[in-house]
């Protein structure tokens, strides 16, 4: 059995607004194992970024978070949610055991300090107090991610780097303390195709070297297919399907997953109309007590589906889906997406 690095159980996030209670994350459970990449997929607003921020405890103060986030550190499990916000405890984990790469490399750095200065900050906090040693470590990390001439680059400012290079620096910075878990929030979305492919190869290769777990958030299914081992599909604050990447792409079960896969155009495929999911993601507020995908689902069965929300049920080895249509384990009758 492979050790799980992170176990999230029944994570809920609520935000109180003037108009009422917004529940962007409504009970999410998953685990990320050592040396694996779990993809968290969904449209904007499905709660994937909030989930990740909750893991690091960097959500806004307005977010009320409940549930469990168990992280295994040195053999023992600790619940990150029980830690006080910004306490010394969580700060010793954040950036060291768990680190994060953000979407926009350009806005993740301060323009006022050199790359080296910003990288050493992490190292001086977690690894060593020796400034000379910190510089060596930073330069070594830059070399690892394929930055040419790291000694010179160390003293440069973010504006002297291109987007792809800056994303590499960000990865170097995230990996400098050898984290057990890396959270990557759409790290390649803002980049060109060629650079995107480079960054993904780099992450795969670094994972092989360090055996870290990666939680990869994206809405790009091409990236998912190429980097993830397992995939969790999120819709409106819940995981509606989870399974290995091969299962999900070959035999998607949930109508939403089918819809997502159907809306991607494949090169070389025919140029018919793309399948598109009707309507838009509703606001996670005052939801009706039934399957949250009901209104947009093309397979909905009024007798079966107009019931309170379904839970994840296993439909195969390592493959679970939350859909009333699979409740009796009958195969889908209406195929065709």
């Amino acid at each position: 059995m492979v050790n799980s690095v992170l176990k999230v159980e029944d994570l809920k996030i609520e935000i109180k607004l003037d108009e009422g209670m917004l529940t962007p994350v409504r009970g999410v459970s998953f685990e990320v194992r050592e040396n694996e990449t779990l993809g968290l997929v969904g449209e904007s607003g499905c709660g994937k970024s909030l989930t990740c921020k909750a893991i690091l405890g960097i959500n806004d103060k307005k977010c009320k978070t409940t549930g469990k986030i168990n992280f295994s550190k040195d053999g023992s499990e600790i619940n990150l949610l029980e830690m006080k916000k910004d306490s010394a405890e969580i700060r010793s984990i954040r950036g060291k055991n768990i680190s994060m790469i953000f979407q926009e490399p350009m806005s993740s750095f301060s323009p006022l300090y050199t790359i080296g200065n910003q990288m050493s900050e992490v190292i001086l906090l977690h690894m060593t107090k020796d400034k000379k040693k910190a510089k060596e470590l930073a330069i070594e990390a830059l070399r690892r991610v394929g930055i040419a001439n790291p000694e010179k680059r160390y003293n440069q400012y973010p504006h002297e780097f291109s987007g792809g290079m800056l994303q590499r620096v960000l990865i170097a910075m995230a990996l400098v303390c050898n984290p057990n878990l890396l959270i990557a929030d759409e790290p390649t979305t803002a980049l060109d195709v060629t650079i995107q492919a480079q960054i993904i190869e780099l992450m795969k290769q670094l994972q092989k070297e360090y055996r870290m777990a990666i939680l990869y958030i994206t809405h790009d299914l091409g990236t998912v297919a190429q980097i993830c081992d397992r995939v969790a599909v999120m819709y409106l604050g819940k995981i509606v399907e989870i399974g290995t990447v091969h299962e999900i792409f070959k035999d998607p079960k949930h109508p939403y997953t089918k819809g997502l896969l159907g809306s991607v155009h494949k090169i070389g495929g025919n140029n018919e109309r793309l399948f598109s999911i009707e309507g838009t993601v509703p606001l996670a507020m005052n939801l009706k007590d039934r399957c949250s995908f009901y209104d947009r689902c093309v397979f909905r069965d009024e007798n079966k589906c107009n019931r309170p929300e379904p839970c994840l049920k296993e439909v195969g080895k390592e493959h679970s889906v939350a859909c009333w249509l699979y409740e009796s384990n009958e195969p889908h009758e209406k195929e065709g997406i």
Binding site: G164, D192, V224, V264, S276, V281
Partner: protein, 328 residues
């Protein structure tokens, strides 16, 4: 045979400051037939947006001709045209912008945004205006009862629809779509692409579709132009370009596409280094610094853009001898 609606001939655009001159678009030529969709692809900074902006004359090209066949049957050079005629042409040539969050004025209601082109070009009565805006709004899938709202109340996909409605309200014939779907989620992207294709059929629209997403371009385009460092390096019918690329840069671009199928492993052809500085482009073929097929000739001799096969143009010294890999 449909008529040629747009001919871009040797167009260049140079941005100059005191010290540097950047040739953002460098001697680009191609033709567009009526009802076609032309995809323009390339990495950021390759000049595809600048080219698009030159075509709608949001900026003036430095040299070259942009010949447009107007509805009245006359051909106008958009570069040398008097202001009054240009105003008439502007009704026919419209643009859809990249970022649906930045391209709509937050202080105007959706009705004001969509009706602005009408108000600028025609003197319509209030009820006529309302009727037109409502009909175009429902055409692009916006609920007409939302017209009194401000852009912030809409999601990305809906905002892009507003941008499309604004471009369509004047019944244009040519639309330049600059990364029109790049900022959207896949499912919404599919909706907007379907919408664009439906509208094209209904109104016989011609699109110039600028994007860095090769799979979207393959889906929507009839022909594709590949740009690198301001130059068009390859131009061919879509299927031909994706199956039998003739330029090494196209080959590398195609190999970098991440395929949404875990059983297909990517075999990317690595591109060495970064895009060179456009203020100081390499000698010879601009691509030679990163090309794996580079020979001596490529470093010194300029390369011209020639038709190798019918309809398939390429700028490469070795186009005849190389056997490049496309996407099967």
């Amino acid at each position: 045979m449909p008529e040629t609606i747009l001919t871009v001939k040797n167009v260049s655009k140079v941005f100059s400051s005191k010290k540097v001159h950047i040739r953002a678009v460098n001697n680009v030529s191609f033709e567009v037939k009526r009802g076609e969709t032309i995809g323009i692809v390339g990495e950021s900074g390759c000049g595809k947006t600048t080219l698009g902006r030159c075509i709608v004359r949001a900026i003036d090209a430095t040299s070259g001709e942009i010949l447009y066949l107007a509805e009245d049957g006359k051909v106008y050079d958009l570069q040398n045209i008097d202001k009054k005629t240009l105003r008439g042409i502007r009704k026919e040539v419209q643009m859809i912008f990249q970022d649906p969050f930045a391209s709509l004025d937050p202080r105007m209601t959706v009705f004001d945004i969509i009706s602005e082109p009408l108000r600028a070009n025609f003197k319509l009565k209030r009820n006529e205006l309302e009727e037109k805006v409502k009909s175009i709004a429902s055409k692009v899938g916006l609920n007409p009862s939302y017209l009194k709202r401000y852009p912030h109340a809409f999601s990305g996909g809906q905002r892009q629809r507003i941008g499309i409605a604004r471009a369509l309200v004047l019944n244009p014939r040519l639309i330049v779509c600059d990364e029109a779907v790049s900022a959207l989620d896949v499912s919404v992207q599919a909706q907007v692409i379907n919408l664009l294709m439906d509208l094209q059929k209904e109104f016989k629209l011609t699109y110039i579709f600028i994007s860095h997403d090769l799979s979207v371009v393959e889906h929507i385009s009839d022909k594709v132009g590949v740009m690198y460092l301001g130059k068009m390096v390859e131009y061919a019918p879509t299927e031909e370009l994706f199956r039998n690329p003739l330029h090494p840069y196209t080959e590398a671009l195609l190999s970098a596409v991440l395929i949404a199928d875990p059983t297909v492993k990517n075999t990317r052809i690595p591109l060495e280094g970064e895009i060179p500085n456009p203020a100081n482009p390499p000698s010879g073929c601009f691509f030679h610094t990163r090309c794996r097929y580079c020979i001596e000739k490529c470093k010194t001799e300029d390369v011209s853009f020639v038709e190798k096969k019918p309809g398939h143009f390429v700028a490469c010294h070795r186009a005849d001898e190389l056997n490049l890999r496309g996407i099967v």
